[in-house]
Symmetry: C2
Subunit: 172 residues, 2 copies
């Protein structure tokens, strides 16, 4: 696909087939993420790729349980408000049941961490579109990066002590 | 250019011709930036496009003067350290004398400001590459966004009271 077509036709996709895309497509998307620039070429964005349905299901239940403990305030950001409200109602699927979730993480205390990871994310979302895959930036784990239970679970999947979650796309 | 070629061959370019690229190419790059996703589709990234050589020269002198007043500490980020050292030596061109500088800004207090602008930046850098233009993320004005003199100058170019500088690419 042409570069401009890939950029201009990319949409945030929240409804997608639950079928796992071929691994070589997922790998191509990650390669595109790794090709993004980074501050002083530090290349510290860490890509944690989740494709196992049982892991996604466990994580989804955990995220719902943790959001359900939170309270909405007058200044709560609209998307976070929606996450909390839907979680309290017991019907929250933070990753929209997509078959693939890539979690991006980067170094705690590194000033370009979020900017670098966002460039990687945008590359991945354009690449996904060029491969005819849907994608959407998922921010919920970033909001919960300091949540003890979520952090412990993500550390089990490879998140390092010196990293925090910066975001990540779903694919499908 | 193919999307993957544009993604994989993009490089941070710091040496470029001083000739102003055709306006329609610059506009196409900005259009690509505007096509980036944003949190809750807020679309609040503001693109301030500087192509006048005298403005770039003034801004370059101002940036050098302000960095020259700063001191390097043991924990100063390597690029910021270089900016300060070169500025004190009177030989600092923060935009590498590129003919175009696009400054991105976004809302103060908006949690997705930097992430949204970074996605827009990555789109612009991929688009530039697809148009055979060089580009590089310039972070110096972000570091100086709270500097009184730089802020006043940028407000003269359109930066709003409720915005801060998130970064921006050079093009050429």
């Amino acid at each position: 696909m042409d570069a401009f077509e890939a950029i201009f036709t990319r949409r945030s996709t929240r409804r997608m087939s639950s079928d796992l895309p071929p691994m070589e497509l997922i790998e191509k998307v990650i390669e595109a993420g790794r090709a993004a620039p980074s501050g002083s070429n530090s290349q510290t964005t860490h890509f944690i790729v989740i494709t196992k349905r049982e892991v996604l299901t466990e994580l989804t239940k955990l995220v719902q349980a943790e959001f359900a403990k939170m309270e909405v305030g007058p200044d709560t950001y609209v998307s976070l408000r929606n996450s909390i409200t839907a979680s309290k109602a017991g019907r929250y699927y933070f990753h929209y049941n997509a078959p693939v979730l890539i979690v991006t993480a980067n170094r705690i205390g590194y000033g370009n961490a979020l900017a670098d990871s966002a460039c990687a994310l945008e590359n991945m979302m354009i690449a996904a579109n060029a491969l005819d895959l849907g994608s959407c930036w998922i921010n919920q784990l970033r909001w919960l990066t300091d949540n003890e239970a979520v952090r412990a679970y993500m550390e089990g999947l490879g998140l390092a002590d010196n990293e925090y979650i910066t975001g990540g796309p779903i694919l499908g």
